[in-house]
């Protein structure tokens, strides 16, 4: 057998290991209910409840940020994050959290936001402009 063939087999074996590890390390998307049941790290996708206040008071603790998120099943849960409030957080439409349930609060280790960025979505903010233009006439 050619040496390169042996090497090839070894490489393929490593590649299979890589792919298995991808799935072994991979996390799951779930809801707050799943998080409560499993008690393991998972991803929760949801939307920010904008009617409730965001809690970030750097004068008390610069590393405590809390907010209320509604997951895809419509269940709301308080989320705490150890760190500063991410920029643009108020404007986020969809939030992807990584973390787990501790008590009644979801402790997020990572927050990823999808913003309806004014930079790449076709949403117009013309109301204000229209208003002033009408006044000027």
């Amino acid at each position: 057998m050619k040496k390169s063939a042996i090497v090839g087999i070894i490489i393929i074996a490593i590649a299979i290991g890589v792919i298995i590890s991808t799935y072994a390390d991979s996390s799951t998307y779930g809801s707050f209910t799943d998080a409560r049941e499993s008690q393991t790290e998972l991803h929760v996708v949801g939307t920010l409840n904008k009617s409730k206040d965001l809690i970030y008071n750097p004068k008390v603790d610069a590393n405590y940020f809390a907010f209320y998120l509604v997951d895809k099943q419509g269940k709301e849960c308080k989320v705490v994050f150890s760190g500063a409030k991410p920029q643009d957080f108020e404007r986020s439409e969809e939030v992807v959290l990584t973390g787990k349930m501790i008590g009644d609060e979801f402790s997020a280790s990572k927050i990823l936001m999808k913003c309806p960025s004014k930079y790449n979505k076709d949403k117009m903010e013309v109301q204000e402009v229209e208003h002033t233009a009408a006044l000027n006439r």
């Binding site: 090497v7 991808t22 996390s27 004068k59 603790d61 590393n63 705490v80 930079y119 790449n120 979505k121």
Partner: protein, 815 residues
Amino acid sequence: MDIQFAGEHLLPGKLGQFFIILTFGSALISAISYYFATVKDTNDDSWKRIARLSAWVNTFAVVGIGASLFYIIYSHYFEYNYAWAHSSRSLPVYYIISSFWEGQEGSFWLWMFWQSVLTNVLIQRARTWENPVMTIIMLSQVFISSMLLGVEILGLRIGSSPFILLRDAVEGPIFSRPDYLSLIPDGNGLNPLLQNYWMVIHPPTLFLGFASMIVPFAYAIAGLWQKRYKEWVTAALPWALFAVMVLGTGIIMGSFWAYEALNFGGFWAWDPVENASIIPWLTLIAAVHVMIAYKNSGHSYFTATFLVLISFVLVLYASFLTRSGILGETSVHSFTDLGMFGHLLTYLLVFFILAVGFLIARWKDLPITKKDEETYSREFWLFIGALVLTVSCIQVIATTSIPVFNAIFGTKIAPPANVFQHYHQWQVPFAIVISLISGFAQYLKYKNTDPRKLYIKLVMIIIIAVMITSAFAYIADVYHNVMYVILTFAAVFSLCCNVPFLIDALKGKWKLAGASIAHIGFAFLLLGALVAAATSKVVSINTSGVGFGDEFDKSNNAKENIILYENEPVRMDQYTVTYKGDSTVGVNTYYKINYKTINQTTRKVMEEFDLYPNAQQNAKMQTIVASPDTRHYLLHDIYTHVSSVPLKTETAEHDDHTGHSEDEGYDQPATYEVAQGDTIRYREGIIIVKGINRNATVEKIPLGKNDVAIALKLQVIAKNKTYEIEPIFLLKGGNKFDFGKTVADVGLKFRFTDVHPDKNKLELMVYQKPLAEKKWVVLKAIKFPFINFFWAGNILMMVGFLLSIFRRNKEIKVI
């Protein structure tokens, strides 16, 4: 439908759209003509003439698109969606350039532009390779230009044009008004994160890299097509090196931009978009090595061809990942979907099938050696190294592609929760193997090497490397982790193996030095990346945060942000850090953060510097966009960014307005009955009653016979300063008046309101300004040791590639 809209400039858009059609058409004609020029074996070169002409027309049209688009953005014609969405009037010219490629269309244009530059070079230099190579490249040009078409064919929209009018792109009631343009005074502006000089040069470099990947691909296809199996490798090698160099530079610029301008807190985050750019780079760098192996030994032909072909397919896969919107929830900064999913996939599949098809069709003819490589030969280890690089690439692809698997199989798998740990458990061992091979393979000869001589050399090097490794691991503090020590050894070993070659090169053979310089660069890159990532230390650890319940504290999260009040120094690591105030320049507010190192025994300031992290405040959105500032040292960086600042709108509320009563803006006054010599204590100092001035006068008020004007002589001592002040009491015509005096510096106002001769007391009212809210910033500071090794290593690597390009280019001319 038939409204006459006022103030629109339709000509540049029409012209631009015409150029798009022209680009697409000329690319198509050129590709077809080059195809016939290749397959028709006639002496008549009419096909080639048509093809070249179309290629030149194509270049002209591509430049035309760019000029039209630039003109639209530069003139602020917001009737065009692209200008409206990506620019604004206040944008300086050099950022107009970056707004150009903020959108997908602009970045496609950039790709197309570079591809046409490359076609012109190839027309000049490719000689016998021109026809087949250009067929492939023009085919790619057809696909990219079709992305900009923006026309509907059979109800299917093909591509997205940058010349679409705002009123066609966006729904809105205002577009029924003929004068709608007057209601749109300004564009949306460029994402503030992209307003950075790196964003002016990073995308063009990256896209030149992507665009130049087509050239080795086209040569490989041409080699198979024309059955010039062996020749293409030599011809394509300088191009492959060029692509590796430029793409590598582009990637590293992106990394530097992320480090300098974004608050990622690092230089590589394993974000899917970053991964997408490194995937094709890994396979092409592997390809370069086996191409050299094949040239010198005749081994690894299939591996070389396959890797070159797959590299460009992976470029297309990377574009598909970042541009189709499939990454969705896994990445923050991929493009949003422009409805190009199918289009991008077609582009990818056509080139994939082209590559696989040619390989299968020519399989029996391929010059694959049946002979086994010797273990002590360079070609064998080049081959192994290339395979390890490929597997490393597969690992990155596998994890990055999780959303793709989800889309195909309908699963809902999430990416690993701990991204760094996941990638590093694989990439660190791969880096170790590659680094070791890049060292000892230098001492192997092609075909075969005398093992004994090899071992004698290597033993010496290993001894030196072990000594350097132990010293370095101790200094850089990476000896706690076995993997880190092994990686350090591997990098140092590679360094020790390659340096002698560099010395040889400096003695005169500098043209041969490319490989050793690139490998030295790679070794430094690994050391820098390892130490900076493994021992980076958050220096702004907050020890004060309390009061949010036990549950929260138990989670053991590092408290990495710290609040600083103005002029109140805080100890962080070895530094005494003080927030000294802010200043606003344009849209940015710069926060002056003073760092001091104070010797604890002598109290002497050993070192002092200021950093100016900035934040763009968006009052309307109530958000900030922060950018870090970094202090660079030879061996480490101090990196600082603000995580939170008081919003400007909150602090600007209490302006003094006219028309309010004079006492407004002060707290409730305190009334004292005082006598000479009394002392009143107040919040920030003391007030001493010095005495009475009986001869006081009030300006413009003449005193009558029975009128009395008395001034109270006061002394205010506050903040180590003394102020003298005399509020006046006036008795005129039997009525009492008083004239208060203020000491603005300390925010005090005094009124001398009455005299009580019976008690021998004087009535004094003291008004005090409310305690001003202290200014504060929340910041995060990180120390990155040895990060300059990382940057310097990258630069060395690129220099190495450049030297190799010269060398390999020369070899073409010889043949």
